[in-house]
Symmetry: D2
Subunit: 277 residues, 4 copies
């Protein structure tokens, strides 16, 4: 047959399974987002629309891939935790990596107009990603703590930096100089004394990043993302566990919710033992 | 500092460089495109709009990444050849794979309305990908021959199958039965005698797939993709080689062009020694 | 300089670090030992000299590489557990694998005459090896249980097989036939009723394999291997923990000892929490 | 069955095939051979017995593994070229690496007494190894050129260094100082003017290293290794190509021979096109 004499080239495709029963963390980052955010007029230091769009794309990933049990996002990056027992695509690295990054990108572009109704996309945004394996629960805890600590550090710096520029009239060069060598307490003090900003009162989204988990929604449904056309009960996957009573089951469906709370301390993890099961 | 005690988790990020001086072929495939094409009303056996959108996304990849010197597409898959000496991202596999698949996806979604003006995207399309290394020129030749032979085999089958269904009134089950065990000549004969279709006269795009290379455009610019808002001289990257005379240089810029010609025989490769350099 | 223009070839050496904080198990097997054991007249079903030589080589590996905390051997194979925190050779896979297999082989050949004084080596014995990573304690427990269960299964089969041949006068073909489809209890019964062999009374070395750990020796030193010139207090490495009293410290040095006891149940592991630390 | 519930641990054994149709170079190095050579009284700057033992072990590797078509050795290292089409052990990296390094080590220890009749082995010598892939002929040429250039550089340095110490009465510290910053011509001149040594007249083995290939022996058989009990026509494998005439075929069997000639220039390779086939 026509194709037969060429098909030996398939033997060059080497297997790439990931070690079983380890936690996978897939982290993706915006590719050249410094320029992308400038070109598309993102607000500084944080653009709420852009962050919500990231959250919506991440929530869609979790709706599509049940093995993703947790996601954490800040700025133009998102980290996804796949459960230890995950056998998605037989744990083939390239397949998992490319599929999830592609899906995230697709949602990001598709939902852009819902979050930026007045800002057309001038060129295609893209993301790169990698998968890191963690053998133990503590590593996963520390990974997400590392990202949330990074969120805090970056946000405090950026908030102070842009206050110096936008309210203090400094050039960006001057602002960098002003901040050189300062510690966290110094920046907090500077924000408060010079600009009247109480850092702790800023939106939790900016200070804590976004934490996505599946939850049985409370009576008041989570509207965080919904408002902008994101996740809703309707398009969220149904939890695999069937309702155990004949009572109305709507309430028992888990949906992806977006939280902005601490994931460094024990409370978050103690409340959700299934994440590290 | 806050993040320091957690940052050890970075040591779990293992290096993944690809062997130097080997040809990389990145192949991506539509994820669940059987359902996607049904949902979005793709014409059978070939949807010209969908194929042109694939070509446009591939051309954008080539405009963005100069190391991609050749691309070949059929149906919902595309293969990209990165030149042997490519040092993009220090040849880190995950970085190259995720970035290119993400960029392709982004363009696919972004340009969708230009190719499907009357068909809104109902859900996010996505692609998976993998990188295969080939050590020698012959392997690369045979890889692309394999894909083009596959295009022919699939298209002949699908063309006959849908003729039996659409013109012959068979059910899809009957059509599969009719074709069971037939060879190429039998299908050609069946197309001609029962449906008056001369297979060789069908559009080359369907029979040969799409071949993307960089070329100095002829006086009549390549309009294949342009027509639908795709590649044009304007957004194509300028060739690195500067013009050597003071004559008008516009003609000497290479642009990505879409061909539908044979890449199995020697001619194509003999004309473009730079592809395998 | 002379070598400079060629030294680019070093860039083809790719990194191969193993995932941090996972247990490494290196298993090595005799290469072509069916023929090797025949050529060198190994006793059937078990050759005590050959097993002791294996133990001596494994003990030497543990004396040389402190990261190896446990070894288990049967027949012509040995498995080594490297502790989770091991950073030997920066966890480079090829370096660890080749060095340990080479060292084991070297000791095997070097000490051969001490165990086979009347049997010269007719050709070089060799071993192949591989490293497998296990993320959690339970995996390590189950790995070693798997090998010890295998020891039992093989030994029971071989013991019955060779009784049929050596005492029962069957050909090897007949003996295979006789054993086809039998279960453990059937073989035990056959051994006892036909050959007067009480399987449970056979040497523990044959039934349980060899388990090597580091221990503070009891007043009566472990002589198992010593007798044949193997491990002794003299050439064993000193434990890193210094003596905590002024009493004579000789007793407190840990040495590698060879045990033949159960490692499937909890007791062995409960007594040695440091193995899985 | 007893082993069944544990056998899942096998799923952690990941595949490790090497890219097809690339040249493999396996390089092994003595582990801690600075101390080993001191302890066993190796002559400085070169110990002929030790080099011949290395050659004998390498020749045995070539006799055992027909896929090894070339070997190059200097000091305590050896590089083996496996032909591009090699499918040994399905190209599994760990299997190939461990088996060849183990076999080399085994021969080294087994034949030690033949080369060092008066020097018993005081402890087990060992080697580490790695496999590097090269996609093209030129890379392989350059790899071996790199090693032979290294041989020259090291040997010229060591010869001058030990002349300064042994004949010039310098301490090793002084000798290092004397040589600091010198170039090749300076060392040649120093050897000749101060010690009457014509570097070019030193044994080719020291200056060029050892090159092992398979050849149809000339009427006078290669005795280089034979003399010390190494390679001989008797234990060399028969070449796969059958004799093409009815003439006595003994002469046409290829055997491994040890050469000490230039492999940087074209001649060596032009004479042996099969090496890079």
């Amino acid at each position: 047959m026509a194709g037969t004499r060429f098909s030996y080239v398939k033997t060059f495709e080497l297997p790439d399974p990931l070690l079983p029963e380890t936690y996978m963390v897939l982290r993706l980052d915006g590719h050249g987002f410094h320029k992308f955010s400038d070109t598309h007029g993102f607000a500084k230091p944080n653009d709420e629309r852009a962050l919500q769009l990231m959250d919506a794309a991440a929530a869609a990933v979790m709706d599509e891939f049940r093995d993703v049990v947790l996601a954490f996002g800040e700025s133009d990056e998102f980290s996804f935790l796949l459960r230890k027992k995950c056998t998605l695509y037989n744990r083939r690295q390239s397949k998992i990596l490319s599929t999830l990054v592609s899906f995230f990108t697709s949602v990001y572009v598709l939902r852009w107009p819902a979050f930026f109704p007045d800002t057309p996309l001038l060129y295609p945004p893209s993301f790169d990603g990698r998968i890191v394996l963690y053998p133990a629960q503590q590593h996963v805890r520390d990974y997400f703590a590392w990202r949330q600590a990074d969120t805090h550090i970056n946000n405090l710096y950026n908030t102070t930096f842009w206050a110096l520029v936008q309210q203090g009239g400094q050039s960006t060069t001057q602002a960098h100089e002003t901040l050189k060598g300062t510690v966290a307490s110094g920046k907090n003090e500077m924000l408060f004394s010079r600009f009247g900003i109480n850092y702790a009162a800023l939106p939790a989204r900016f200070r804590k990043g976004s934490v996505l988990v599946r939850e049985v929604p409370k009576v008041e449904p989570e509207l965080d993302v919904d408002a902008a056309g994101g996740v809703s009960e309707t398009d969220a996957c149904q939890d695999a566990v069937p309702p155990t009573t004949s009572a109305p089951s709507k309430r028992q469906k888990k949906v992806v919710v977006v939280l902005h709370e601490d994931i460094i301390e024990n409370q978050f993890w103690d409340d959700r033992p299934e994440l590290l099961a």
